[in-house]
């Protein structure tokens, strides 16, 4: 407690001695940042549904990660579960639990190429722009649901020191510090760092310890230089997280009881990321040429008690090391008043992923999943005899090397004719991927009727796969302006997007498990009539999945309806082909995989309204989605006509805030705000038998600005609503993850 009193005292003392320039910080100064708007369309005027969250809104609402933007943008939902590796994003009904995301995340013009790095600490973010609907023409792969453009604070825009400290009732604290300087008129540099401790909120009843606590730290150095027509922008950032997680509650479908989290083997996630992004730009009176080069490094380890139960069944450790290089060149006309606006670009990337995913089968897993399966059949002939495995535990090693290369060319032109604006674009995307795999395991087994000693069995599944993908991504848009361009417009668009194809590495332990059983049978010279030793997928080529493509038809409007009232509204219809759905193999299997098994459609509407009058601000975001399978039969049932699981049908967020400004030397501003966030219903399974009903989360903020010190008291989920954020099956058992409980905190921001 003394530590916090000291920190508060230092902040207050610093504040009173400082010059006030917080207002400058929060002023939206679009255009000053010389490397902004690489591809240019301003989201709130372009023919696209967009949510813009400037720095002030992000900080007022306490947004500390991408997940917390859920429902702040209509039909955008990223549930919080698992750990930081879990970045399941749903937009307009579509999303994915694993592998390729539907949303592209771009930080300071650099696309984040691995979704494992999507969940990072938000600090000193100047602007978030979320474009919904396929953005394939300009942004390419994995943007079929949209793009989130994140811009960090620039030292050319603001100079000074920013510090923040926050503490909340779940024993969590966050702190950050940053220095923004302009040593020369044309050179700016910033250094920023942040640390977060999440105390966690879920008790593991087996260990009697909180299982979802964690620490993360990150740092960012940004340098910007400009001279004449040239400008350079370099950002080097690094982040590290070490956390628990996987707070999955066992669900009993007969009693509908959600039990305590209770697993016996350690589960954790550790991740190191290093990102280097360099943007060079040349502008003259005709063209603007930009080049963005990036290097991205990701090194993470996920350790899981994969049965999430007190039994010693099996654990997994997934270690990934990935190097990625990207290069993008964009050429466009520089005069925004030209009737013909054009933009051409080329993008290439190369990723080298080195992954190791050893699965350790422990005593209960060996008995239940392997020996049990075999003995069940053997007992039909030899009721008193058994197959046994000598090892108490054994490891199925799975090593992968997955290089992926891609190249794209694109062009987009817009032509303005009186009140009309016509846009057409086309992108050609090519991608080549390879997977070299080696899964192996060794056990000693014995059939006690015929064998007097154990016999060694070695099973190996190794080889390589190569695939290429080619996509054409067109876009057509028409806009009609109501009058002056400031009044707004109505638009109609047709766009195509896609999620990349890839390989299901998570099914390999299943494949090898089946192969071990088959090898054992072959070694014994027997062949079972029933399906022991089979899995849904038994070859590496079967683990490949193709790209998923979507066509998006949309009409909408951006309207400045009255003084202080801005409205964005849209209606969409999306057809999805070769939909990538997560499939759990039949029976008591351990893996999961992506399969192009479905064809679906989504229709819906979105409404955003922002009204300001004097100190009052009311902000509404509502999204409705009706997303259903047109075709999907997983071999067990036909799900045509059923709602797509995991995506909410409604998202709503209402914020009512009032700000009082004071002509006072010590207190400048007081803001009271209340926000209501509603999400649901969410179906958890393809048969639509389980669902999370619509739920509400109530929050409130009191913010007091005293010169450059801002003190905020905040509360989230004030009604302590219990809700589920995730559901899944593993080894035939069912599990839920639950949302965060009531949380109240205090935050101090200092800008000097």
């Amino acid at each position: 407690m003394k530590r916090w009193i000291t920190i508060i005292a230092i902040f207050i003392a610093s504040s009173l001695a400082a010059q006030t320039h917080t207002e400058t910080l929060y002023r939206d100064i679009e255009g000053v940042e010389i490397t902004a708007s690489l591809k240019g369309e301003k989201g709130d005027a372009a023919p696209v549904s967009a949510t813009i969250l400037p720095m002030l809104k992000l900080e007022e609402r306490g947004v500390t990660s991408v997940k917390e933007i859920s429902a702040l943008s209509p039909n955008f939902y990223q549930p919080e579960y698992g750990s930081s590796i879990t970045s399941s994003i749903y937009v307009r009904g579509f999303g994915s639990r694993i592998d390729q995301p539907v949303l592209g995340v771009i930080i300071d013009n650099v696309p984040v190429m691995n979704k494992n790095a999507f969940d990072f600490d938000f600090y000193d973010i100047r602007r978030v722009e979320l474009l919904r609907g396929p953005q394939g023409t300009l942004y390419g792969r994995n943007t079929s649901g949209g793009v989130m453009n994140i811009t960090t604070l620039s030292p050319l825009v603001w100079q000074g020191v920013r510090t923040m400290a926050e503490y909340s009732t779940v024993a969590s604290y966050r702190t950050s510090a940053a220095y923004y300087a302009l040593p020369r008129n044309n050179f700016g540099i910033s250094v920023a760092a942040a640390f977060t401790h999440d105390g966690g909120h879920t008790l593991n009843a087996f260990t009697d310890e909180i299982c979802d606590s964690g620490n993360s730290g990150s740092a960012r150095v940004r340098m910007q230089w400009h001279r004449g027509a040239w400008s350079l922008d370099n950002t080097l950032s690094a982040g590290y997280t070490s956390e628990g997680g996987y707070a999955y509650h066992h669900y009993d479908p007969t009693t509908h009881h959600i039990e305590d989290v209770e697993y016996n083997d350690p589960s954790s996630y550790k991740r190191l990321t290093i990102n280097e992004g360099f943007t060079a730009q040349y502008v003259n009176n005709k063209v603007r040429v930009s080049s963005v080069t990036s290097y991205q490094y990701l090194d993470d380890t996920m350790t899981l008690d994969q049965d999430f139960s007190p039994k010693s069944m099996f654990t997994m450790q997934q270690m990934q090391r990935e190097h990625t290089i990207t290069e993008e060149i964009v050429i466009r006309n520089s005069n925004e008043n030209d009737k013909w606006q054009w933009l051409s670009g080329a993008f290439i990337f190369a990723k080298w992923l080195d992954m190791s995913s050893p699965v350790t089968f422990k005593e209960d897993g060996i008995n239940d999943l392997i020996v049990g399966n075999i003995n069940e059949n053997i007992h039909k002939v030899f009721p008193d005899n058994n197959m046994t495995i000598r090892e108490d535990s054994f490891v199925i090693n799975s090593d992968f090397k997955i290089p992926t290369y891609g190249a794209a060319l694109y062009h987009q032109s817009s032509y303005r004719l009186n009140r009309w604006n016509f846009t057409a674009g086309l992108r050609l995307d090519f991608e080549a991927a390879q997977m070299r795999y080696n899964s192996n395991a060794t056990v000693n087994y014995m059939f006690d009727y015929t064998m007097s000693d154990f016999k060694q069995l070695q099973s190996t599944f190794a080889g390589n796969e190569n695939d290429t993908f080619f996509e054409i991504l067109p876009k057509i848009a028409v806009q009609y302006y109501y009058g002056s361009r400031d009044r707004g417009n109505v638009y109609a668009t047709v766009t195509r997007g896609y999620k990349a194809g890839g390989y299901n590495t998570q099914i390999f332990s299943d494949i090898l498990q089946a192969q071990m059983m088959n090898d054992m049978m072959s070694d014994l010279g027997i062949e079972l009539d029933s399906a022991v030793g089979t899995t849904t997928y038994d070859s590496a080529s079967a683990t490949r999945y193709k790209p998923e493509t979507t066509w998006n038809f949309e009409i909408g409007t951006h309207l400045n309806a009255a003084k202080g009232l801005h409205i964005d509204a849209s209606m969409f219809w999306i057809e999805c082909f070769d939909q990538q759905v997560t499939v759990l193999p039949k029976g008591k299997n351990t893996g999961r995989m992506m399969s192009n098994a479905a064809r679906s459609r989504s229709i819906g509407a979105e409404l955003s309204a922002d009204y300001s009058y004097k100190g009052l601000n009311i902000n509404l975001n509502y999204g409705y989605t009706n997303a259903k399978f047109r075709k999907y039969n997983d071999g067990n049932a036909d799900y045509a006509g059923k709602f797509l699981p995991y995506a909410p049908q409604n998202t709503i967020n209402v914020v009512i805030a009032h700000t009082w400004r004071f002509d006072n030397d010590n207190i400048q501003m007081l803001t009271l705000s209340a926000d209501w966030r509603g999400i649901g219903s969410i179906y958890w399974d393809e048969s639509n038998t389980l669902k999370q009903p619509f739920y509400s989360l109530l929050g409130a903020n009191i913010s007091l600005r005293m010169r450059d010190l801002t003190l905020t008291l905040w509360g989230r989920n004030l009604t302590n609503t219990r809700y589920n954020t995730f559901y899944f099956k593993s080894v035939g058992e069912e599990f839920f993850s639950q949302g965060r409980p009531i949380e109240v905190g205090i935050r101090l921001n200092l800008n000097i």
Binding site: I378, T450, S530
Partner: protein, 151 residues
């Protein structure tokens, strides 16, 4: 009582030793080269007036240390048996006459599922192997079995 127990253990140990020493030393492959196998019908008398028939049964043989070893691949002895197994019969006496092998054996323990399969001890085995045909007639445990195959 202890003497009887010790005697039992001694006999059991001796049997185990014998089984290990004699254990499955043939060169017949687990996964046969189908071109080299005889293929035909196996009929098992169920001793209840019915017969279980299995077609396309592959049988391979070798001559090893003056005896014939043969393997019957993926065979079932009753329709209700939930698995097929490879059965290897070793140490069968034979006589050769103009390329025709005449087989005879009694009390041979076959090998299956990784070891000796005493439950189905082969008795009263007779048979004939030519370059293109193979016939077998034996009791497998208490079940009469006949096989007739060709290449």
């Amino acid at each position: 009582m202890n003497k009887i127990k010790n005697l039992f253990l001694l006999v059991a140990a001796a049997l185990t030793f014998a089984a290990c020493e004699n254990g499955h030393e043939n060169n017949l492959p687990n996964n046969p080269n189908h071109k080299e196998c005889y293929e035909g019908k196996m009929v098992v008398d169920q001793n209840d007036g019915s017969f279980y028939e299995q077609n396309s049964v592959e049988v391979d043989y070798e001559i090893y240390d003056g005896k014939i070893n043969f393997a019957m691949y993926k065979v079932k002895f009753a329709s209700g048996m939930p698995l097929k197994l490879d059965m290897v019969v070793e140490g069968v006496d034979f006589e050769e006459n103009n390329g025709v092998y005449t087989l005879s054996a009694d009390g041979v323990v076959p090998y299956a599922m990784g070891g000796p399969f005493e439950q189905f001890t082969i008795t009263q085995l007779t048979g004939e192997i030519t370059e293109t045909t193979m016939t077998l007639d034996f009791l497998c445990g208490e079940y009469p079995v006949t096989y007739s195959g060709s290449k």
